[in-house]
């Protein structure tokens, strides 16, 4: 009985709270640095919109994804703004779970958004999520070690050059590995890298009839190349390394090269965190001359679930967080180097930013060289550079990632890993009804 009263009381209390702050919007974000910074700048927004309160839910990437996906798919209605990636947007938009962002205000200037990024966040010409920061991947290398090896990094290297350089830079005695690459199993971990890499080798996940392609020579070339390279020039423990592990290695000067997200540039070039800050050079992700480079495209973006009661306030917030004004705000408070990158063309035309971020041009070029709608050399039925934007991909990608990390760890052969990946993919795609 008491419980009941308590329960009713609580309901009543929350109803009251509801009435008092009619416009509290709840925002789910990932715990990356740029998002955390935004959270700290909330005051600017509430000063401009005194009738809107912001509640933040900050979670690490995997948990966030589970959390918001469960909520939106069951119409739980817990969030008014969700931070989602390029992977979710096309799938969710297709389910009509997201509100099209058509009320961002007159001064929002949607045309300024980098086209490659906007393309990945739109469906039927409508923008379903506003990019907060965007990234591609590129090569970060140690200029000093490159020089020592007697080589010069071109702006657009080939895989052959990278492999050669990696082997020459490796100096096990000095604890220097020629190259650090992702190896930890996961669709957003090693598979993000390997899928992007495979694009440059002419491979693809599926042909136009959704037939998995792991039995094709292109994949064999990709994986064999990767495993051999890592064996000869990679760090120990590579099969459990993700972004952060490699970042730490690179910052401690243990990697000659590192191919990963462009946002890493701001970490490795930051003298506060990095012991090699002044020795880092950048180059486009490598290719094999087939017309595609091994770089990906990702944008953490803000979307508004279709079920929200506070769409208007939510749009106001999204407009604030992803608008040009926000970039200026961050610049004025924390300097241009800390501005969220990769979303607006105007930022890259800003000389002050170019000066503060030596990697700006290479970042923009990398982003522009990725095309989520045409990611591969051969035609594919899907969208997405380092992923396949279908609901089944996360599970399947992780399975394949596990198999490939086993190949990297030397616990299975490349052929076995590919055969396993093929079997798993055929199984999953048949089940999901793609293969008739």
């Amino acid at each position: 009985m008491k419980l009941n009263t308590l329960f009713l009381g609580l309901c009543g209390a929350s109803a009251l709270a509801f009435a008092a702050h009619a416009e509290t919007i709840t925002i789910a974000t990932v715990n990356n640095g740029d998002m955390v910074r935004m959270q700290k700048l909330t005051d600017d927004f509430t000063a401009k919109n005194p009738d809107i309160q912001l509640e933040w839910v900050t979670l690490e990437e995997n948990v966030l994804r589970e959390r918001v996906t469960t909520d939106i798919a069951t119409k739980g209605g817990q969030y008014d703004v969700m931070t989602i990636g390029t992977y979710e947007v096309p799938i969710w938009a297709k389910q009509q779970w997201l509100l099209p962002l058509d009320g961002l205000g007159a001064d929002y200037d949607a045309a300024d958004i980098i086209p490659a990024i906007a393309g990945g966040l739109s469906a039927d010409g409508k923008l379903y999520a506003a990019p907060f920061y965007g990234e591609s991947s590129f090569v970060m290398y140690r200029k000093d070690l490159m020089e020592k090896a007697g080589l010069t990094m071109p702006d657009a290297p080939t895989w052959e050059f990278i492999a050669d350089a990696a082997r020459k830079m490796t100096d096990r005695a000095a604890d220097i590995n020629g190259i650090c690459l992702r190896g930890k199993a996961g669709w957003g971990e090693n598979m993000a890298f390997l899928t992007a890499m495979s694009n440059s080798f002419g491979a693809r996940w599926f042909d136009e009839k959704w037939q998995p392609q792991f039995d094709q020579p292109e994949w064999k070339n990709t994986l064999q190349f990767y495993v051999d390279l890592m064996k000869e020039a990679g760090p120990s423990g590579a099969s459990s390394n993700g972004f952060n592990e490699n970042l730490a290695l690179f910052q401690q000067g243990k990697c000659g090269m590192w191919i990963d997200a462009t946002v890493a540039a701001s970490f490795v070039s930051n003298p506060k965190d990095s012991t090699v800050a002044d020795k880092v050079g950048y180059a486009l992700a490598p290719d094999t001359g087939l017309g595609k480079r091994g770089n990906w495209l990702w944008a953490w973006s803000l979307g508004i679930p279709a079920g929200t009661q506070k769409a208007e306030a939510a749009q106001k917030f999204v407009s604030w967080a992803t608008g040009k004004g926000y970039l200026d705000l961050v610049a004025s408070k924390e300097g241009w180097a800390n501005v969220p990158p990769g979303t607006r063309t105007s930022l890259y035309n800003n000389p002050e930013y170019q000066k503060a971020a030596p990697f700006a041009k290479m970042t923009l070029d990398s982003i522009n060289s990725a095309d989520p709608t045409k990611p591969t050399v051969k035609p594919v039925p899907y969208v997405g550079v380092q992923f396949v934007a279908i609901p089944e991909f996360q599970g399947l990608g992780t399975t394949v990632g596990q198999l490939f990390s086993a190949a990297l760890a030397g616990q299975s052969s490349v052929d076995d890993a590919l055969a396993g990946a093929q079997t798993a993919s055929v199984r999953e795609m048949t089940r999901a009804g793609y293969i008739k």
Binding site: L59, V63, T70, N244, V263
Partner: protein, 274 residues
């Protein structure tokens, strides 16, 4: 009865025990040490001497309001524990003092309710919570954790109660005590150590429950597990910050554990009743 132990032997045991204890404690110690390092120091290789910076703590506090999460953790952990005890004490009483042929089966069945993998029932539970408006409420989470830990609580109380001689309860019955009087005046006070250690164990389990507490909360009811989830594995260096957040999250339960350690051990022994 106690024989004088030679000091040499005692020193030998002391050294051995301290070495083992420090080895076991080392990961936690290292986390605490790391929390006083800067991020670059944290990955710079093995060192037990931090620079003593409070930078990470400042950043952690700037990013999240620790106290709010802490409060939710306390309410949920303590609330669910008390609720579980209220339900479990009578059940354990009847199992211990009025057992039937099926008592053990019922106990086993209760424990078996914990065997459903949480991930498999996330969607059903989420739907139930949504439809009962319990998402992101402390009461929802409290009831949930109560149900999750109830079997363990019943089990532990049952084992403690069984060590209480039935004659004492019969004496109370002869002395004119009603069932209520029997439980309140005789059983509960006698089982205090057992109940206390059950409580502590349950609070620890509830405090550390990191699946449902994250999946079923948003802002209002989010406890320290959610606080931790906002510091683990972001892009970039995070060791010092995660260590600081972890230290903050572990500290209250660690301190509580330290204070109640004697009680915990005594309760589990239950040597008090003869």
């Amino acid at each position: 009865m106690a024989r004088a132990v030679s000091t040499r032997r005692k020193i030998g045991f002391t050294v051995a025990a301290w070495v083992v204890a420090l080895l076991i404690f080392f990961p936690i110690l290292y986390t605490i040490i790391t929390s006083f390092k800067s991020e670059t120091e944290a990955i710079a290789g093995f060192s037990l001497v931090p620079s003593g910076t409070l930078e990470s703590y400042a950043e952690v506090q700037a990013q999240s309001n620790y106290f709010k999460f802490f409060l939710n953790s306390v309410i949920i952990a303590v609330g669910s524990t008390i609720l579980a005890l209220v339900v479990a004490v009578p059940a354990a009483w009847s199992m211990a003092f009025s057992p039937t042929k099926r008592t053990k089966d019922i106990l086993m069945w209760m424990l078996s309710t914990k065997m459903m993998p949480a991930v498999a029932v996330l969607v059903p539970i989420y739907l139930i919570f949504r439809d009962t408006y319990l998402l992101d409420t402390r009461i929802g989470l409290t009831v949930m954790l109560m149900l999750i830990n109830l079997p363990i609580v019943v089990w532990m109380l049952y084992t403690y109660f069984r060590e209480i001689p039935g004659e004492i309860l019969e004496a109370a019955r002869m002395d004119g005590a009603t069932l209520w009087g029997e439980i309140v005046y005789v059983l509960t006070p006698m089982a205090v150590p057992g109940i206390a250690s059950t409580m502590l164990l349950n609070i620890i389990l509830a405090w550390n429950e990191a699946f449902w507490t994250i999946r079923l909360t948003t802002t209002n009811a989010a406890p320290l597990t959610a606080f931790i989830a906002s510091f683990s594995s972001p892009q970039g260096l995070f060791w010092a910050k995660l260590s600081a957040a972890s230290t903050l999250a572990i500290a209250p339960i660690l301190i509580m554990g330290w204070f109640s350690q004697r009680q915990l051990v005594r309760g589990l022994t239950f040597g008090a009743v003869k």
